[in-house]
Structures are given as structure tokens and as C-alpha cells.
Symmetry: C2
Subunit: 447 residues, 2 copies
């Protein structure tokens, strides 16, 4: 029997530690580093062995004849532990390099011929190839940086909401019925009973507002949509929040505005390396314009001579024009579009008492694409059941959801953010698969 | 058009703000508070209206004849906003109360007759009833506290791993094949193709070790197990991590030990109220004993005169005895059981080179129940494909997983923690459904 008491400090060093040591006058000292051999540049008498580590790339220098091993011992895609002398070199990544004295091979590839040239600065291959060799493609430093940015966005969402008194919840993804209705539901057999995959945590997060006042969840949602577009996924990560005791749906937009500010601050602080690698210009979030659905449709139709086909619907092209309008007129990449038509929103959306053709709801567009849907929900039991009836829907399967309202619920509202879309727009990609680790679409179920 | 610039401070106050104000000499001032009417205790000339807020309970005092509204205006399960005078009262929850001057009704229940007496200190009803009326049952202060503790455990997992250089990933839950094999896989139809729900993120997190060195995920997993026990769920939240460049599987146990320490520190600091409400005695995590599978089986068999049926299997009763042994002999609620038999572990587990009947793997038991499975994985392509062959398995559907190894992978390992089980043992429950918001089991698909 032995005891585990925590994590012992390793002798091997990370890049930030090496940089710190160099700055503190530690050049010339012997250091140990491990990493994957990203690429080798053989210049004859000297060779640069570039190691890929989680914080970035590190240059290891091999000097022919000065060390007791051959360069041939080191294969690309191997993982190694080296020992060497820490030096400053302003031309090397991070301004430091390690002159190798010895190497220990930790693992070797079975096939040195890589399917993709991951060590190139820009991978420069088709999306199809990147997805087919996903675990290889992401070894490219720029490809993987996108997902570090994605982590920052998720992390900011949680950290900000903790600070605002929200409680994190985990709601089931298998259920008896879908929350959003419609045909885009994946069906499965659950011990000889029909079941579905959750399209959203909508019902659950509302039910939990009666318990915790404010809740959030960051989890997968499933949509069996047959759209094969650059912006649709059949499984995506939804950043969901729901909050009680609101004075109006404006409170939800205010919360999202502040989240975005918080997220940009966190990215600047903790993800500066990735922001730089990707050349991201973090967007202005200090003030986000909000404009009514009916109003912006007219503004856009007028300014861009766009023919408005249906006053109660918003086409993707119109979203793009609204994004353009917000940028040109208000200098903002983001714009809240408010008061969506009631018939375009689910039954639980609260209609605007001043004009019930519209709802107290909003979408947030980012560079002309919807990344958030939110709004106030009906909290009165009678109003809710009447709307269900008026829509010709059945209460079947919603008994527990409705019972929650029967026994009292505060005024509340919430939103859902599509994480992959938010990431995509932030890093400047134009296909949501670029910012999804392992996308699921009509044709893609693997890897 | 208007602008959103962030979250404006509300006039209504939270309990911690009221306590702070009272401590700073603010008693006697007028305050505004909202909340749900948890219960009303009518004493005749005076009544106590107990408000349920996210931070706890707050006593509002109604003095008959002194205010321009009737007590009858306030219904149990309504949500209200009150204005009143802040006072200190050591008998009231939190040591403060608010003497009401006015009330505004925010919402009213359609049915005042609650299905469960949620305002009682202990709900004292059957698990079945609690699950049938889940959104009501959780309004009980002790019931909901369990899920605040659960939040703390998840939050600690992420925060600790961020500090250790891990990257958070989101892997797909719909896939072409399961990672763990066996029969307990939920099947679904994916656009006329057969698909399954993920039993674990195993393959994906390993593939991502080649990209980020260290990764984690906190997400649902799905197991179509037909066990109807107190410890099985068909959908649960798995806290998964996987890390590269390990010196051995001991590194994984060290990481989990430190996580548990970090989690207990966070609970003590940020969740002290809930720890107190539930009367939790936070377990000692400074040193966690580790003992070999074959050794502890013998120790237990001897000490408790337990007949060992199969030297290569561990029965639930044996787990309980091991927990008892660790507590009695080593004073620990936790115990790592190491070197599980190879035939009880999946193909990707690394066999112990010193005795290949066993693996470099472990389980963590907490009070006699397995809450974690982990270990070192095979990282060599040839060794991996040979083991697949030796087990009579096919490589079909694993091409992308295996290709990752073909192109180099560092020595690595990881673990998965069952969040609901960990919570259950920590809060002292004996059925995992007690610490699952909306459990999914053989018979339960709703709410």
C-alpha cells in the first residue's frame, strides 16, 4: 500500500516556464523538455527540431558531431524528451531555444508519411480532408488554436454566470418528447419505448428557474435538420441560460452583452497567444445596438433596395444585410433584432401585450448570422395552456412541465447561444464545421 | 434603435447583500427584495412570510393592521417583490428579517395545493414521489442544495484542470460505433444510417491528446444497461480527462488526488452554506491509499472471512468491504484499487509488462463504491492493433482512431468520474437518483 498526496512537480518544463527562466537570467542552464516532433529542418551542420507542445512550438537545436546521437534517431511525429542548454534566440518561436545534449524517444510513429502537412503555417487543404483526418489536421498550430478560443468562450460563459448567481445544471438528453416541436427530432428506442434526443434543454431549464432562480447549462443538443449548409450542424454545443425575476426581456439582452464583454476580456488575458496566432481582432462589445424586427427589415429593404418578400419572416440574405447595416450605420459587428413575429416562435414565447403578432423575444446576429435566440417566456399557467390550445397543440407529454407553472413560477426568460457559430464568426471562418471538433452533418457520422 | 451596454444593478437585493448591509449598520433602512413565497406562518397579529431565494430563505414579517394590504393577498408559491425595513433577528434565517411595508405580486400559482410539502426541513417523501414531481421537490432547500454541491464538484474539476494546462473539448455524442464495446449501446437511426449514442468520449479524448497534450470533457454519456440498481443510470454526467507525457499511470492517480483536494477546498470556500444545510463532513483527501487488486482482495477475504469466488473479478459486496477496510485500516473514505485484471478492461488499456494478466489501471472507490475508472492506455500502434487482433475484435469503424496512433502519440492515460455517484457519496445519499436532476433508468423517461 502506498499513498497519493497530490501532483508532484515534473522535471520537464513547459514553454512559459522556459521563457520565465530565460527572462530571469537562466540562459545557459540545463533544462528538460518533452514534446512531439512537429517538423525537422536539416541545415547540414545544424538542424532545427521543432517540438509541438500545448503552449506552442519550441525550437530544439541539433549540432552535428557535438552530441552522442544521430539526427536520424529523431523521427517526425515521434514524441521525445530532450535535455539541453536553454538559450535566447529572437528568431526562434517565443524567443528561446534549447541546444540538445541528449534525447530520449518516448514513442515513434508506425508510419512517418503524414496524410496532411500539419507543420505548415496554414494547412491549406480542403475542409473535407481536414475532417477525414481530424485528429491529424488539428495538430496544425492554427487549426488547434480555434478550439482554444472556443474553450475561452465556454469558460467565460460559466465564470461570468457563476459571478451573477447562476447555478449550473445537467439535464437529460434522452426524453419522451422534444421541447421545440417540429420534425427535426432524432428518435431512438429506449428499452422498447419510443424516445427522442433533446433539441434543447428548454423545458428543463425553465423548470429549474423555479428552484435556483438562475440556471445555465453548456451541453450538446441534437437537431435532425436536413439542411446541408455552412451554418447547420446536427449536433452542436448550446450555451443556455434561463433567469427569473426579470423586469423584461431586456434583462436577458443586457446579460448577454455583459457576457460578451467578459468573454473578450478573458480571451485578451488568457488566450492572447491564440488570438495572435489566428490574427483575431476582438470585436467591440461595449454597446450593442438593438432594433425591432419590423423596423430593421424596412431599413434594410430601403438602404439596399432589397425586396421584402414576407414581413413576418427573416431570410438568411436579410440577416446578412442586417449585419452589414449594423456595421455601416452603428459600427457594430453585433446587433440584437427584437420582437420576432409570434408565429415564428415556439408556444412558450411571451407575446408582446402591445401587439400580440409579435413576441418579447430577440435574436443576436454576429456579422450577419444568428448566434443566439432568446426572450421572455410565459410564466402564467393559464396563459400557457391557452396558447397551447390556441396553437392546436396537445398537452400530452408536457404534464410535468406544465405542473411546474401550476405551482408558481417567477417572470423569467433566457437564451441559447450556438457555441460553434460564435467561434466561427470570431475566428473568421465561414463554415461551422471549421470550428467543430468532430462535426455531425447529413453525410458525416465519423470520425 | 437603442444600445445594450451591460448589466445594470437591480434595486432588489440578494440575501448576502442584505446581511452585508445589516452588518455595516444598515438596519432600519428600507430595502426591496423579491422571491418565491416558500411558506407562511400566521401567528395572529403577526405573520412570517418566508421567501425562497437562490441563496437561501429570508424571513419577511407581516404586521396586521400596520400595512395597507391583507395577508390573504400573499399566496404560498406566489412570487413577490416586497419593500420593507431591514432588521436584525437572530432567530431568523441568516440573522436578518424584513418588516414589510408593501408588496407587489409578480406571479400567482394556478393551484395552491402543492403536491409535496416542500417547505418542510426534510421533505420526507418517497424517492418515487420526488422524481414524479421533480421540479417541485427540488424547491425544498435541502433537496436543491445537493445540486449546488454537484455544481461545486464540476466547477472544481474544470478550474483545477485549467490550472494544470488542460484544454476543454466537446466530442460528439452520436457516432457510428461505441468506444467501450459490449451490448449496452443505445441505437438510433441517423438519416437512414445506423448510429449509436456515446458510451464515453474515450476514443475522442485519446485522439485529442495528440493535439492538446491534456484534455478534459464534462458531458453526458449513455449506457443501455439493464441493471435496475441504486447505483446505475442510463444517462449520466462523466468528468473525463486524458493526459499525455505521463511517466506511468501513477500520474493519473496523483492528478485525481489533487482534484479531490481542490474540490473540497472550493466547497468549503464557495459552498459553505450548502455544506452546512446538508450537514456534510467533507472527507479527508490529503493522502489516498492505493493497493493492488489482487492484494486487497486477499486482505478483505481474510479480515472479513469473505469467500473469494473469482480472483479476477470484483463483486459489489467486495467493493463495500474494501471501503470498510480502507476506513478501518487507513482512516480513508477513498481508496485506489490498482492493477485490474486485463480481461476486465477494454482493449485500449495497457497491460502490465511485469504480469500481463493485469493492467496499469485503477478504480477509485469512495465509501465502498467505484466512482472512477482510469489508467494508462496503449500508445503504440503495433501493440494496439495486435491486442485488437488477440481479442478477436475487428478494426472496422476504428480507422480514424487507429490512424491517430499510426502517426504518433505520446504515452498517455486518463480517467472518467461519475459525477452523480461522487455527489451521492459526498452528500450521504444511497441512491444515485437522489443526486441526478432528472434520472433516466429502465422505467423512467420523464419528466
Amino acid at each position: 500500500m502506498e499513498y497519493y498526496t497530490g501532483v508532484a512537480k515534473k522535471e520537464t518544463m513547459e514553454i512559459s516556464e522556459l521563457c520565465g527562466k530565460a527572462k530571469a537570467g537562466g540562459t545557459g542552464s540545463i533544462v528538460r523538455v518533452n514534446g512531439a516532433v512537429h517538423t525537422i529542418r536539416d541545415m547540414g551542420n545544424v538542424a532545427f527540431v521543432i517540438l509541438r507542445k500545448r503552449e506552442g512550438l519550441l525550437q530544439a537545436v541539433y549540432e552535428k558531431g557535438k552530441v552522442p546521437f544521430s539526427l536520424k534517431d529523431i523521427k517526425e511525429a515521434a514524441t521525445v524528451e530532450i535535455e539541453g542548454v536553454l538559450k535566447e534566440n529572437e528568431k526562434a518561436p517565443g524567443g528561446i531555444e534549447v541546444c540538445m545534449r541528449s534525447v530520449r524517444i518516448l514513442s515513434e510513429p508506425a508510419d512517418e508519411q503524414m496524410p496532411l502537412a500539419v507543420s505548415k503555417w496554414k494547412l491549406g487543404t480542403s475542409l473535407e480532408a481536414k475532417l477525414n483526418y481530424r485528429s491529424i489536421a488539428l495538430r496544425n498550430v492554427r487549426e488547434r488554436a480555434k478550439f482554444r478560443i472556443q474553450e475561452g468562450l465556454t469558460r467565460a460563459f460559466r465564470d461570468f454566470l457563476y459571478s451573477q448567481g447562476f447555478t449550473e445544471i445537467h439535464t437529460p438528453k434522452i426524453g419522451a418528447r422534444g421541447a421545440e416541436g417540429g420534425a427535426n427530432i432524432f428518435k431512438l428506442e429506449y428499452f422498447h419505448r419510443p424516445a427522442v434526443l433533446a433539441q434543447s434543454p428548454q423545458f428543463y431549464k425553465q423548470m429549474m428557474v423555479g428552484v435556483f432562480d438562475r440556471v445555465f447549462e453548456t451541453a450538446p443538443v441534437f437537431r435532425a435538420e436536413k439542411h446541408n449548409t455552412k451554418r447547420h450542424l446536427n449536433e452542436y454545443t448550446s450555451l443556455d441560460l434561463e433567469m427569473g425575476y426579470i423586469d423584461g426581456f431586456e434583462d436577458i439582452m443586457a446579460m448577454e452583452s455583459r457576457y460578451l464583454q467578459y468573454a473578450m476580456e478573458l480571451l485578451q488575458k488568457e488566450y492572447a497567444a491564440e488570438v495572435k496566432v489566428l490574427g483575431i481582432e476582438l470585436p467591440e462589445t461595449e454597446k450593442i445596438p438593438a432594433v425591432r424586427f419590423s423596423e430593421i427589415k424596412e431599413l434594410v429593404a430601403e438602404k439596399y433596395s432589397h425586396k421584402m418578400r414576407n414581413p413576418f419572416d427573416l431570410e438568411p440574405e436579410e440577416e446578412v444585410l442586417i449585419g452589414q447595416y449594423a456595421k455601416e450605420e452603428w459600427g457594430s459587428d453585433f446587433v440584437f433584432v427584437t420582437h420576432y413575429p409570434s408565429k415564428k416562435r415556439p408556444f412558450y414565447a411571451m407575446d408582446d401585450p402591445e401587439d400580440t403578432r409579435y413576441t418579447l423575444s430577440f435574436d443576436l446576429l454576429y456579422k450577419g448570422m444568428e448566434i443566439t435566440t432568446g426572450g421572455q417566456r410565459i410564466h402564467d399557467y393559464k396563459a400557457l395552456t391557452e396558447k397551447i390550445k390556441a396553437r392546436g397543440m396537445t398537452e400530452e407529454g408536457m404534464e410535468q412541465y406544465l405542473s411546474t407553472f401550476k405551482h408558481g413560477m417567477p417572470p423569467h426568460g433566457g437564451l441559447g447561444i450556438g457555441l460553434e457559430r460564435l467561434t466561427m464568426k470570431l475566428v473568421g471562418e465561414d463554415n461551422v464545421r471549421e470550428t467543430t471538433l468532430f462535426p455531425r452533418d447529413l453525410s458525416r457520422l465519423e470520425p
